[in-house]
């Protein structure tokens, strides 16, 4: 069996991913300045934040939760809120 060779993505690779993801959803971040600490937001800060969020995905993926921890009763009584039942 081939040995695993997964490497942690570099900042540059994540930047490409982030830009592509925004572009896919129709969001244009190129209207922001590249880097301007005096601006309310710039692309550099936005991408830095995005990389942090993506790297946190690993933390979430690693979170080990009991697969039998099911949310208790997903359809309880408050369904009456949509059935026009008279409030008592």
């Amino acid at each position: 069996m081939k040995e695993k060779t997964i490497h942690s993505p570099s900042d540059e690779e994540l930047n490409v991913y982030i830009r592509t993801r925004y572009q896919l959803l129709g969001v244009d971040i190129s209207v922001l300045p590249d880097s301007d600490p005096d601006a309310p937001m710039d692309q550099e800060r936005l991408l830095e934040n995005g990389r942090s969020i993506l790297r946190q995905e690993v933390v979430a993926a690693d979170f080990d939760i009991d697969p039998q921890f099911n949310l208790p009763v997903p359809h309880p009584a408050p369904f009456v809120a949509w059935t026009e039942e008279v409030e008592k």
Binding site: V31, Q56, F63, I65, A81, W82
Partner: protein, 515 residues
């Protein structure tokens, strides 16, 4: 004696309810707002608002009146609603150029017309009370801009249910209060990082923050430009400015106050929170606002609102004991915040609490399992929620979001796997707070409110003293956060009432601006 509501509610019932809310988040499209039909429910408990011990002369300026004093003075014919409107408008006209607490205001004529309007004979507990809701509550007579370019010029065609409830109870919207950009941070010039609203305790120093995001509401109340107000809290945005400005505020249990007509941030974490100058006023507002709303299913199926006004009235007897026997716990590290003055203040507060009847201090609590993991990013967050609501303006122009842009774009980077884990982690946290934290105490003193915001539990803040701000050299208030299990509002009010019956920190007013 009747027990407080937190002791008679099934904890399993609350867990099931929050799970339903989480599940329903995926179906939020079904919750398209409809015009509110009017919120006419005001509880009979509001007739229990106590009489004032102050005379007209003792109160001084009319803007010094609290809600309960206003009710009593109007009942006795000492003042008229029109007097109250003029007093508040005069003060705002004179001082808001310094405080910059308001984003928009109705005309004096419109306010006077509302103040003098007749009723159908029903009891109006807030008659003539001038209130300042944050600018994310829809109002038909004023713009609702959310402190942001995203909503610049937005004129709603209906009132938020909370606003409608206030008007129905006779309350007057004296203005819409400035707020942090889309409910984050302190208020700023839209689309910039230039601060606007000042802390009422440092009106000549813009650098000392009023905290956010309910900045303007906090400042308006503390500066006596409103009697009380409405904030919203997704992550500390009511208790933050409350503590920064010496106010008493309540972020109630999730679903207690309708969010219909409030600009959303998170479907599962947003709360409306009454902000006031003392615990009785916070309780009166909650009493007016806590009712089911056909336009917000999250308010349905809850146990009826109990007697908040009664729980906020001080008890009689030696040392004015807390109304119910209450175990008070402390978060690890809370007593040692790293600031000597604050540490001393908190130690004094604990000593005073212990001396009040019916209080048992249980010391530092043991945190539930995996506390750090469950309450910090990414599991303790809500990345996807604001993205879902704001896709259209994000596509229009990301610059509209100013410095808050990352918060609104992050959801696009979060996987479905993570989102499911976040929801599961939140339910796990909710379960453990109930079974592993509130098995040790009935009320807990906590530094932040994040864990209780995410799990929908009530949090109250109140002032416990004053400290000198090293930057401005001015005296500024310090407060505490008290959290309780679901539907523990009465318990929180009772503790605050006993504390405020023996202290006067909540009555101290900041000096007027110079200039």
């Amino acid at each position: 004696m009747r027990p407080p509501q937190d002791t008679v509610i099934s904890r399993r019932w609350f867990l099931e309810r929050m799970a339903w809310i989480t599940t329903a988040a995926a179906g939020a499209e079904a919750l398209v707002p409809r015009p509110v039909m009017g919120a006419e429910r005001t509880s009979s408990y509001l007739r229990e608002i106590p009489i004032s011990i102050n005379t007209r002369q003792q109160v001084g300026e009319l803007t010094e009146l609290t809600i309960s004093e206003t009710v009593d003075f109007l009942r006795r014919g000492v003042v008229s609603p029109e007097d109250l409107v003029r007093a508040h408008v005069d003060r705002i006209d004179r001082y808001d150029q310094f405080y910059r607490a308001y984003a928009g205001r109705p005309s004096l004529d419109a306010l006077l017309a509302s103040a003098s309007s007749g009723t159908d004979g029903s009891y109006q507990p807030l008659k003539g009370v001038c209130l300042a809701p944050k600018d994310n509550f829809y109002t038909t007579d004023m713009l609702t801009e959310g402190g942001s370019l995203v909503f610049e010029g937005f004129q709603p065609h209906y009132d938020a249910t909370a606003v409608a409830s206030i008007r129905s109870a006779g309350g007057l919207i004296i203005g819409k209060a400035q707020m942090g950009n889309l409910a984050g941070g302190r208020a700023q010039v839209y689309g910039t990082t230039i601060p606007t609203t000042r802390n009422a305790w440092t009106p000549n120093d813009v650098n000392y923050s009023p905290a956010g995001s309910s900045s303007g509401t906090g400042t308006a109340i503390a500066a006596r430009m409103a009697v009380a107000g409405l904030g919203t809290q997704t992550g500390g945005s009511v208790v933050g400015p409350g503590n920064a400005q010496g106010l008493t505020c309540i972020k109630p249990t999730f679903g207690r106050i309708s969010l219909h007509g409030v600009i959303p941030l998170s479907y599962t974490r947003d709360h409306v929170g009454p902000m006031a100058r003392n615990v009785m006023d916070a309780a009166i507002l909650l009493q007016v606002l806590a009712h089911p709303d056909p336009n917000d299913p999250r308010t349905k199926g809850l146990p009826p609102a109990p007697n908040y006004v009664g729980s906020a009235a001080p008890t009689l007897g030696l040392n004015a004991p807390v109304r119910w026997p209450t175990r008070v716990g402390v978060f690890p590290g809370w007593s040692d915040p790293g600031d000597e003055g604050v540490a001393r203040m908190r130690a004094d507060f604990l000593r005073d609490l212990e001396s009040m009847g019916n209080v048992q201090l249980v010391g530092e609590i043991t945190l539930p399992e995996q506390w750090e993991e469950l309450t910090s990013q990414p599991l303790g967050g809500s990345h996807g929620d604001p993205t879902a609501f704001f896709i259209e303006p994000l596509r229009r122009d990301v610059r509209l979001f100013g410095d808050r842009l990352p918060r609104f774009l992050n959801g696009m980077l979060q996987s479905a796997d993570t989102y499911v884990k976040v929801q599961q982690a939140r339910m796990l946290l909710l379960h453990r707070i109930q079974t592993q934290l509130f098995n040790q105490c009935d009320v807990v003193l906590t530094e932040g409110s994040g864990a209780f915001d995410g799990t929908g539990m009530p949090v109250l803040c109140m002032p416990i003293g004053f400290d000198t701000d090293p930057g401005s050299g001015m005296s500024v208030p310090r407060g505490v956060n008290l959290a309780a299990p679901p539907f523990g509002e009465e318990r929180l009010f009772a503790v605050a009432a006993a504390w405020q019956a023996r202290t006067d920190y909540h009555t101290v007013r900041p000096e007027d601006p110079v200039g």
